[in-house]
Symmetry: C2
Subunit: 446 residues, 2 copies
């Protein structure tokens, strides 16, 4: 089915098109060579965190499950692949019946990760696994990058709520995923209606400068807004003169005025002045929302200011300097020629980008103070003292998704996982990963 | 209609959901106040280019036209807005019949822009225009950011083709728009099948390290690939030892081998060695493709290297350091109370973010050498010497799209627009916008 009639700006008929061409040409060649059926293990991991970051945040897992479950080659897609001569007829036949039938384990959504963490493990035949590379990486790289920024911002904001309002700064559908990731990372609400519709994230929003400018005076605009939305609304007070706007706002809405929003200027200074003015006018319960070009550092710098909520746009949806995680999807083990046991494989050239072969487990070792002290990764048997601290959970078994959960579960898990890290995890300053990654050698019991 | 059954990772029923909630609450309040029908002019512009950039590139215009044309509030969306109590019943009734009926003019896709350029102008009632803010900005901010990076990369690459391969580094649907923007900016091909399907952009791709690792030897892998894809294929030669891989590749495919790909290491050094080796083996026509973490600077640094094509991923889809343009959508004029002429409006607070009121024209003045020398922006009458150099074209008339064009038209337009700038436009080093923005005062004939 083609979705062109829905008028979406980007229409695709299936998640199977979120695929780089080489995955199909590899499949084609492997089918011809008789190697496409070899049992294979692919792992998603990152060689490093973005420069200076203390931890990563897994996000997008739920979206990956949707994408894998619906990864099908329908008639439209097959016709396209045939017309463009991307694959041959035997491959088209194989694709027509494609349905992922393997197993996926991974870090649950909201969990934190470190360099080398096997964030997701996909196991099945080479053919069925190799096709999922791009869609899995697209989702995890984007969503995890946003969630990591969101997590730092929510640390900096403490108990004050964060509003996601970056839709206008990123692709219209990336924005929906960004709002979802922000929620996982600790944001409270979003301005994006599509995110509210799709993921039931609470939505907020009142008015912009255009609304004030539409009316003949700021007073007319405020009155129109309060008449329609009630005294609990948030009035935007920086279109003309802030002090005059605050006076007018309280005059019209009374001390029951819900909040005022400040969207420009020296927020620290203006927030203090506005708080004092509101208090003097008796609007002691009226809240102050600030929304201008905030990132985690600006949020932290306002910790002592009389601010009640932060709205964050650009820096959230662009990952606050790191718009993508650098996760890769690598073949780490495959069946030996004779259908025997899995053998570890890894790229070995001297040019860098090497990886550790073998099917991995991961566990987070905890110190005496109850906080994490190392991310331990190994192949083979899990040491007895770490069996209860393993990080990978089963997500897909024989092609069936077994780990659906509400988004709040991921949000709660993230808060708990972050709280389990050493305190320095939430320092905003640049530094090394807050816990080291250790590789356990097989059978060492380390 | 709900698209959940399509299994897209992000399902929305209409482009009308790509909207920040405040647009609907402003509409609600304006309807109640009787001001929603005031004729209004909104303009999209940016106050500055990303730091150090010489010019911007308009991209996404075609996608904006799709989004506006299909911006409807269907039953699912109305039910959501009612359930969440975002708007009242009169507003729901108004939305149920919504269809943009105004006019849109704008810089055509592929054109370059500068600070203050009125990239798009949306005119109609306040109510019908205010709703389009988020979807228009999402598309233009994302797509233009990618196109600007693509344009710099294609300048740096000269006649050598660029392959877009960043899908795995960004949201799966942002990736499709990114491939489209890259094409507008001068890229030749993409690895993203969805972009090939949706926009008919030529797609490419052959194999990854996983394919080599799947097989018992590199020789087996190369043979399998050549058997299936032919001698004209591109073999990836850096899984183990590059020199040995090149030898094996030519042995198997013969001198007709299409290309080798190098994805790691010191590309300058390795490319020279591989070229020499290929030539010694008689494979003088075999091309070299490089693909490791390239940006415009890395591409430029390889200008003297024997490289035939570049594959670019992360840095393309993240805008090479600038993942979003900073375009805003501002009310610049509206009907006066009595239904009379439009009056210019603008935010005026001291806190920055001010803008220039009034409905604008723009023209690019050309110097004696035939190159652009200024972006001239004004309100009122266009000076006679600039009437033939105006930049805004009609895109939508009375709600009907009047400016559809094939993507190649935007790509060609961009190449021509860039060629019309002073030569320093394509310097990669940081600098000021390559031409100044001048504001013509009305009637000055300046």
């Amino acid at each position: 089915m083609n979705t062109a009639d829905l008028g979406l700006p980007v229409d695709v008929p299936s998640t199977a098109l979120f695929t780089d061409q080489y995955e199909l040409t590899m499949l084609r060649a492997a089918l011809k060579a008789g190697t496409a059926g070899r049992r294979s293990v692919f792992e998603v991991f990152t060689r490093r965190l973005p420069d200076g970051r203390r931890y990563g945040v897994v996000a997008g897992t739920g979206r990956v499950l949707d994408a894998v479950e619906n990864f099908r080659f329908d008639a439209d897609v097959l016709r396209f692949l045939r017309e463009k001569d991307i694959v041959d007829e035997p491959t088209l036949d194989w694709l027509a019946g494609y349905r992922f039938g393997g197993d996926i384990w991974g870090y649950p959504e909201g969990e934190v990760y470190f360099p080398g963490s096997p964030i997701m493990r996909v196991e099945g035949t080479f053919g069925e696994c190799v096709l999922l590379e791009t869609v899995i990486l697209s989702i995890l790289n984007h969503d995890s990058a946003i969630a990591a920024a969101a997590s730092r911002m929510s640390s900096a904001a403490g108990d004050r709520p964060l509003i996601e309002m970056g839709a206008r700064r990123t692709h219209e559908l990336a924005a929906v995923a960004a709002a979802r990731s922000a929620y996982v990372g600790g944001f409270a609400t979003t301005s994006d209606l599509a995110a509210g519709f799709r993921y039931n994230i609470p939505t907020v929003g009142t008015s912009a400068h255009a609304f004030t400018l539409l009316h003949d005076s700021e007073r007319d605009a405020f009155r129109a807004q309060v008449d329609s939305l009630g005294r609990g609304t948030t009035l935007l007070v920086d279109t003309y003169d802030v002090a005059e706007a605050v006076r007018t706002a309280v005059e019209i809405a009374g001390p029951e005025l819900g909040a005022v929003r400040i969207d420009s200027g020296d927020l620290l200074l203006v927030a203090h002045r506005v708080r004092q003015q509101l208090d003097e006018l008796g609007a002691t319960e009226t809240k102050i929302v600030v929304t201008s070009d905030l990132d985690e550092y600006a949020i932290a710098s306002l910790a002592a200011a009389p601010v009640d909520a932060y709205g964050v746009g650009t820096q959230l949806v662009t990952g606050s300097g790191h718009p993508t995680a650098s996760m890769v999807y690598k073949l780490v083990a495959r069946e030996s020629t004779d259908g025997g046991p899995l053998v570890p494989v890894a790229k070995k050239s001297s040019g860098g980008k090497t990886s550790v072969g073998g099917r991995k487990w991961a566990a987070r070792r905890t110190g005496a103070d109850g906080h994490a002290e190392a991310e331990v990764i190994g192949t083979g048997a899990v040491p007895a003292d770490l069996t209860g601290r393993q990080l990978l959970v089963e997500l897909v078994r024989g092609g069936e998704v077994v780990a659906r959960e509400p988004l709040d579960a991921a949000r709660d898990r993230h808060a708990a996982a972050r709280a389990g890290l050493p305190l320095s995890a939430t320092q905003l300053s640049r530094g090394e990963p807050v816990i080291p990654t250790e590789y356990a050698t097989e059978g060492s019991g380390n």
